[in-house]
Amino acid sequence: MADSTSEYVTLVSCDGFEFILPRSTACISGTIRRMLDPASKFSEALTGRCVLETLTGVVLEKVCEYFFYNEKHKDQANVPDMDIPPELCLELLMAADYLDT
């Protein structure tokens, strides 16, 4: 079991896809950051594993892609647009709302 301070965390989609990414990257999402906050003693914080029941694997993949994109281009101007397939647009919007990103 990953302890609460480990460097990597696991995000799990409702259909069972697992994404392992650096903690700092995942914490771009306000919701995930609170979820993993070591001060609160929720199970996610203890295990470093977040099951996101509202997100499908496809969406979560895109979300993770965005996390990396965000982290890479942080504090930069003239950033190239991220490629977002139109059919995912609405779902991603909802995910963004949910994840407070």
Partner: protein
């Protein structure tokens, strides 16, 4: 296909939301509320944040966010009221409640302290739990907060729950029917702890700090901008008890009656309070409590402390307790930027000490009979003092007392300078007040100008021998410092010129460099005008040197080979620049005939006069025999037939007297009256010169009969062939005319001074009026006083008189009476 799926996915929740609106809320809330309770009971690790978050999210999406908000609020309220409040009130022991009712229980302090610590511990724990849980709950309900709070301007659930804590825990009654609330108990307990610390106990600061930060974290109302509980309730109470405490402390310390202790404890209290605010209470209280401390402990008591008999500032000054003075200073500086009370005492003490110095100088000056001082006078004396007969002693003693006076003042000044530098941190205000006090008592001594000038005279004559340049510099600087304090600088100038002329003419000055240094220092201090005449005196001296050299070569060229050459060294002085009384041939209006020189000298005199007037026609030379000196070679025929030769350095008058005996057969004598008649030396001078020649044991060249200490008109003098001296060269000084002026001379100087001042005042008035054309009386007065203040402080009535006189002489005219106005008459 992907697009289809996406659209399907989006629609699905909406549909579900609409369909199961109510049912879902209730079931979701049931799950949520039980989870929230779990959080409170610290079982959060079994819960999934995601699940709770999702539930809250769903509820909000169902448009039931408000319901959720209210439900959570209710849940929190119930939790706090039922569980936390009970825990807290249980922890309050009855002794605490009792202590609340009667506040001054010190006897049960141990018990109360333990109870208080327990209570505070529980409270602190409850608060921390509450904060933590509410943090978690807020996180879970983040989505709700984001939607509800921002949209409808409700405070976030976290703030609401903090308010609930305040209302249902802190403001809960301790006992069901008691008016005392938990907050009251907390307040009194903390105050109690602080009072324990103030009397020297060690208390658990971090615990109090936690409770205080809880009060700091809570607000009076839900809005963040409302006042903090800490500020609205605790702080005023704390300030109030502090005030009471420091009032009592001030009384207690005054009763101890030791200024040093007071200062030490006060400083200690200040650090204590600072530390307390830092580690136990809140930073923002620091200025407030220190203000209370300043007010109650220091401002109200500092006057008394400063005045404390035997230990106050006076005692510290007398015993040079710099440390104590420093703490008094820093305390006083806290409450009064001007440091009035301290300055007052310091000034008073300075003036007292100064008066003592003044008084002692007068006492010494008046003490005629030889005392211990007289012995000192001899030790420190010049060669004149060695010749001292009783009659001279008061004179020398007076000089000495003048110098003593200056030295005393300088010592005093040095003492206070050290105090000022080290204890008063070179405070500007105090410096000026100290200076003012010095000026005050120095000017109380009517003879200060004269004394100071004498001081310079002594030092320039012999004091600086064997001293390094920098020592001389310091010495002169010290004197200059005193000059700064003297109001009547013109009087000083007069004396200085008088003394300087003596130094220059009698070649007593030890170093011309030092003299010049002195003048440049005076110039810097008092201004150009002041030193003008003094510089002119120096110029005369240089010109005279050239003149002497020229005359010598002139004589060498035209010399009569048979004439016995007499070297002449001459000083031609400009009469306006030099002090008049030295030049004056008149006394009491009677013109004194010039002294009759012996033949050789008379020839020389005429020869020089001719030489000089050839060069500068239209000038008048008047000979000042009283100021000169002469080297003569005398032959003493011993009774055993041996012949002893001595070179004797005497004053011009003595030379004239001694030359009389040249023409006299051995063994004959001259009476005082005969001498007087033949030389026409003024009687005073003659007496003094004869005293030196006939009365002083070491330089007894003349014999006097009868041998008495006084010189009487009938006394007879004869040449003393038995004169003995171990040296070939003998110097015979004139018995110094009182260097400190006697009463009569003083009056004369003052009169002269007044005349001179009158002139200066008139000049100033005319200068001002010429420039302004028209001025009112008061304006003219002020301007005149300002203009003259660098030289002296004129008497107002004198200025008035001068204005009148100028009007009489039609320099000014009266333009109107109301207000009195003058105009300048061109």
């Amino acid at each position: 296909m992907a697009a289809m799926r996406a659209r399907h996915k989006i629609r699905a929740p909406r549909r579900g939301l609409n369909a199961a609106k109510t049912d879902d809320f209730d079931s979701l809330w049931t799950v949520l509320s039980s989870s929230l309770t779990e959080i409170h009971t610290k079982n959060a690790s079994t819960l999934s944040f995601e699940e709770l978050y999702r539930n809250a999210y769903r509820i909000v999406l169902m448009m039931r966010g408000d319901d959720l908000y209210e439900s959570v609020k209710k849940l929190e309220k119930d939790w706090l009221r039922d569980t936390v409040q009970k825990r807290i009130t249980d922890s309050i022991s009855s002794s605490l409640v009792r202590a609340q009712e009667s506040t001054d229980i010190q006897d049960q302090s141990e018990e109360r302290r333990a109870a208080g610590e327990k209570f505070m511990g529980v409270l602190k724990e409850a608060w921390e739990d509450h904060q933590l849980c509410m943090g978690m709950i807020t996180d879970v309900l983040m989505y709700m907060d984001r939607i509800i709070s921002t949209d409808k301007s409700k405070p976030s659930i976290y703030i609401v729950s903090m308010g609930l804590f305040r209302d249902y825990v802190l403001r809960a009654p301790v006992r069901p029917d008691s008016p005392i609330t938990v907050a009251d108990v907390l307040e009194s307990t903390v105050l109690f702890m602080i009072s324990l610390e103030r009397v020297g106990h060690i208390i658990e600061r971090p615990l109090i700090r936690h409770c205080i930060s809880m009060l700091e974290g809570l607000y009076e109302s839900e809005k963040e901008e409302g006042e903090k509980l800490y500020l609205s309730t605790f702080e005023p109470a704390f300030i109030k008890t502090s005030k009471e405490f420091y009032q009592a402390e001030g009384r207690r310390l005054l009763e101890i009656g030791d200024a040093t202790t007071f200062c030490r404890i006060s400083s200690q209290r200040i650090t204590e309070e600072q530390e307390r605010c830092l580690s136990t209470l809140a930073m923002m209280t620091e200025p407030k409590v220190l203000e209370v401390l300043d007010n109650e402990l220091i401002r109200k008591n500092i006057d008394e402390v400063v005045m404390l008999e035997g230990t106050g500032v006076r005692h510290m000054l007398d015993h040079n307790l710099l440390e104590g003075l420093r703490s008094v200073y820093s305390l006083n500086a806290r409450v009064d930027p001007k440091k009035d009370s301290l300055a007052r005492v310091v000034n008073k003490r300075i003036v007292e000490l100064g008066k003592e110095i003044n008084a002692s100088s007068i006492v010494v000056a008046q003490a005629a009979q030889p005392t211990k001082d007289a012995k000192d006078a001899k030790d420190a004396g010049t060669e004149k003092k060695e010749k001292g007969k009783e009659k001279e002693k008061p004179v020398n003693q007076q000089t000495l007392s003048a110098i003593q006076w200056v030295d005393d003042i300088l010592a005093l000044k040095r003492q206070f300078d050290t105090v000022w530098e080290q204890s008063f941190l070179s405070d500007q205000g105090l410096q000026s007040s100290i200076m003012a006090s010095f000026a005050n008592f120095i000017n109380m001594n009517p003879r200060s100008s004269e004394y100071l000038s004498l001081f310079f005279d002594e030092n320039l004559k012999k004091g600086i021998k064997g001293k390094t340049e920098s020592e001389v510099d310091t010495l002169l600087d010290n004197g200059i410092t005193l000059l700064r304090y003297i109001k009547d600088k013109d009087l000083f100038e007069t004396y200085y010129k008088k003394h300087l002329s003596r130094r220059l003419l009698m070649k007593r000055s030890a170093s011309t460099d030092a003299e010049r240094q002195m003048i440049s220092k005076m110039k810097m201090e008092v201004g150009n005008q002041f030193t003008q005449r003094i510089e002119a005196m120096f110029k005369d001296m240089t010109v005279s040197e050239d003149l002497t050299a020229n005359y010598k070569s002139h004589i060498a060229r035209s010399a009569d080979p048979d004439q016995k050459p007499v070297d002449l060294e001459i000083n031609v002085l400009t009469s306006t620049m030099w002090p008049m009384e030295i030049m004056a041939n008149t006394k009491d209006g009677v013109v004194q005939l010039p002294c009759i020189f012996p033949r050789e000298i008379e020839n020389l005199k005429q020869s020089f006069e001719k030489f000089y007037l050839d060069k500068h026609s239209g000038r008048k030379l008047s000979w000042q025999a009283g100021m000169g000196t002469a080297d003569i070679r005398a032959t003493f025929k011993r009774s055993n037939g041996k012949v002893q030769k001595h070179e004797i350095n005497v004053s011009t008058y003595m030379m004239v007297i001694l030359l009389l005996f040249n023409d006299l057969p051995d063994g004959k004598s001259l009476s005082f009256e005969e001498i007087e008649e033949r030389t026409r030396i003024p009687k005073n001078d003659l007496i003094r010169n004869l005293q030196s020649l006939a009365l002083v044991a070491k330089t007894r060249i003349l014999r006097k009969s009868p041998m008495s200490r006084e010189i009487n008109p009938a006394d007879r003098f004869s040449f003393n062939h038995e004169f003995q001296s171990p040296f070939v060269k003998v110097r015979i000084g004139v018995v110094a005319g009182a260097k400190v002026e006697d009463q009569e001379q003083r009056k004369e100087t003052e009169k002269k001074m007044a005349d001179e001042r009158g002139g200066s005042i008139e000049a100033a008035i005319v200068r001002i009026m010429k420039q302004r054309k028209k001025l009112t009386h008061s304006q003219l007065m002020t301007e005149t006083l300002t203009q003259l203040s660098t030289r002296f402080v004129p008497d107002v009535s004198m200025v008035k008189k001068r204005i009148e006189s100028l009007i009489d002489r039609e320099y000014l005219e009266r333009l109107s009476e109301e207000p009195p106005t003058y105009g300048y008459v061109a």
